[in-house]
């Protein structure tokens, strides 16, 4: 833990006195008090964070733009978007594109927002995911400084997605970043937010991201979480969404591997008619450890939540899906559906899945289901009997399994990227784009 103390002192000592500085100090004290979760903690039962405590992560002192550019090019996700790029957590204006921003849309790096609109920005920070939330959120707050602020005015429909790209590249020392994403979507607004985590396989990076999202009345956010952090990287994320009346949050969560990825997703359905909809994929290979903890709080009557997560795990990959739904006492006429289907492609892959329902109202419709299985051997034989080789046949069947959630990806470039990754670059032969 000492290395974090050192890094923190280094980071905060030059900061200007004020609310933020004192909050950071309080946050760090909270982090020190809590320490990294041990396996005894229920929420971290299946996920070991020991390595995070031991490793000596530092805030990057410089960024390698060439490597970052190469990583971006290789990923080949060419989106027309309002885009902010971060390299090992540091905002990189050279790679970002904020041209053609509509007037009613603010997209800016947190570092600039803190300079320009300190009060407004601080007002958005820590309200949903504050110091007292959990140890990683506290740690994130202690190092608060980078990230993004997105504000959309009332009645605005923003056509192009807003894209936040978090790149991690190899450095002489393991690096860490603590981005905080603040989103405020005005009444009746509609936006698409893409967060793309992309890392070199040789990079050793610890991303500890927190997002706080407020959806005003009838606002709609389609959130694409695309996580490909790299073989040696940790990605811990918390997304907390506050939903007012009739708002809609749609989360496409594509978790495509990583040394350790943990996401806590929280939706507070505070207004009648609010709806949250998650479709997610955990795609693990090698020794990837992928952990999803979702929590939907039905705080208001007539609110709706749907969760459909699929896991495909190969080799020694391990997945965790914990879906919690809480229905408050007076929250009547709720619909909450949850489903989790898992495909284990090897004997050593493992999934731990657990629904948790806490229902205190009586007029509710809640369902959950979990299944785990292997590829269908008769289907595999059928495909091979048509001359399709074993690898492609397995790819097709794996993709078929994932399709139920992948098909929901409404941005074609993202759909293509995920499809390619899942089938292991196989769809080339069966690419239907040109048909």
């Amino acid at each position: 833990m000492n290395q974090y103390v050192e890094a923190f002192q280094d980071f905060n000592q030059h900061a200007e006195s004020g609310w933020l500085k004192s909050q950071r100090i309080a946050a760090f004290a909270r982090f020190e008090h809590l320490g990294f979760p041990l396996n005894g903690v229920e929420a971290w039962k299946y996920t070991n964070t020991k390595a995070l405590a031991k490793r000596n992560f530092v805030l990057p002192h410089s960024v390698n733009l060439d490597a970052a550019r190469k990583l971006l090019d290789e990923a080949g996700l060419e989106l027309r978007a309002h885009q902010l790029v971060f390299v090992n957590g540091v905002y990189a204006p050279e790679l970002s594109d904020l041209g053609n921003l509509p007037e009613a849309l603010v997209v800016e790096p947190l570092s600039e927002a803190l300079d320009k609109e300190l009060e407004l920005t601080c007002g958005m920070m820590g309200r949903l995911a504050g110091i007292d939330c959990d140890v990683f959120t506290a740690l994130n707050f202690a190092f608060a400084g980078e990230g993004a602020v997105i504000r959309v005015g009332n009645n605005q429909v923003i056509e192009d997605p807003i894209s936040l790209v978090h790149l991690s590249t190899e450095a002489d020392q393991p690096t860490m970043s603590h981005p905080r994403i603040l989103v405020a979507a005005g009444s009746n607004s509609q936006i698409k937010l893409v967060e793309h985590f992309l890392g070199e396989d040789t990079a050793t990076h610890f991303t500890n991201r927190v997002a706080e999202i407020v959806l005003e009345r009838n606002a709609q956010l389609a959130h694409y979480l695309l996580e490909v952090p790299g073989e040696q990287s940790w990605l811990i994320g918390r997304t907390h969404v506050e939903q007012k009346r009739d708002s809609r949050y749609i989360c496409h969560h594509m978790n495509m591997g990583g040394k350790l990825v943990r996401d806590d997703l929280v939706c507070d359905l505070n207004g009648t008619g609010a709806e949250s909809d998650f479709s997610g994929l955990l795609f693990g290979r090698n020794k990837h450890h992928l952990d999803i903890h979702s929590l939907v709080n039905h705080y208001a009557p007539q609110t709706f939540s749907r969760e459909n997560y699929k896991a495909i795990l190969n080799d020694k990959a391990r997945g965790v899906f914990n879906g919690k739904v809480i229905v408050k006492k007076d929250s009547q006429q709720i619909v909450a559906e949850q489903s989790n289907a898992n495909l284990l492609l090897s004997d050593q892959a493992e999934i731990d899945t657990k629904p948790e329902l806490e229902i205190y109202a009586d007029d509710v419709k809640c369902s959950h289901g979990a299944t785990t299985g292997q590829l269908d051997e008769t289907a595999l034989f059928y495909l091979k009997s048509r001359g399709i080789d074993d690898q492609l046949a397995r790819g097709l069947l794996t993709l078929a399994f994932a399709n139920e959630v992948v098909d929901q990806l409404a941005i074609p470039e993202i759909y293509q990227q995920v499809e390619t990754t899942v089938a292991g670059h196989l769809p080339h032969q069966v690419n239907l784009d040109d048909l």
């Binding site: 495909l383 091979k384 009997s385 048509r386 001359g387 080789d389 078929a400 069966v430 239907l432 048909l435």
Partner: protein, 249 residues
Amino acid sequence: MIEIKDLHAKVEGTEILKGLNLSINPGEVHAIMGPNGAGKSTLSAVLTGREGYEVTSGSVIFEGQNLLEMDVEERARAGLLLGFQYPVEIPGVKNVYLLKAALNAKRAAQGLPEIEAPAFMKLIREKIKFMKMDNSFLHRAVNEGFSGGEKKRNEILQMLVLEPKLALLDEIDSGLDIDAMKTVAEGVNSLRTADRSILMITHYQRLLDYIVPDVIHVLADGKIIKTGDKSLALELEEKGYDWLLEGAA
């Protein structure tokens, strides 16, 4: 085309094929008939390389190659294609994916480049029309929710696209009404050329009214016990199998 010699095969330790001999020349259509339990399904499983079937002795030479040493997919690429008795439903895999992947696998094995998309679509549309199927079939998942007739038509559609050297049709008539059977038979008959062979495995004689074979074999207790021309089918229909079985015993 194919030469099967003294083939013995076991399923779960029980010998099912007990010295089967069969030879098919290019361009010929053969039918294998026989009572339940004769080994008809085992023969098609062994020829396509299905797991769980153990060949204990004998040989199968297909186009000069030792078929039994080839993987399932290699057999298909070499030109041996099975029309399944029970086509498998594969949710999430579209027919068009399957057809394109299979056609390109075959082309790759022949050293040909992948087929261009427009040419592929033209080919597929033509064949689909011939099989009296709707274009929407292409974007439906393989066999998922298909009726019995649709499944069998889909099997023949794959044959028309993949153009095998030897088409092996396992009970292709089972579960078909008369109209569907006519369409399937038309499809199969359109496959008949001077250099392509067809081996039909069937329980019933009625299929042979629509696809007239050159040679008919009777399989019983793991062996071919009688071979004749198409008139043998009529004889079987009239007299059943018993007279042959008694003769063999």
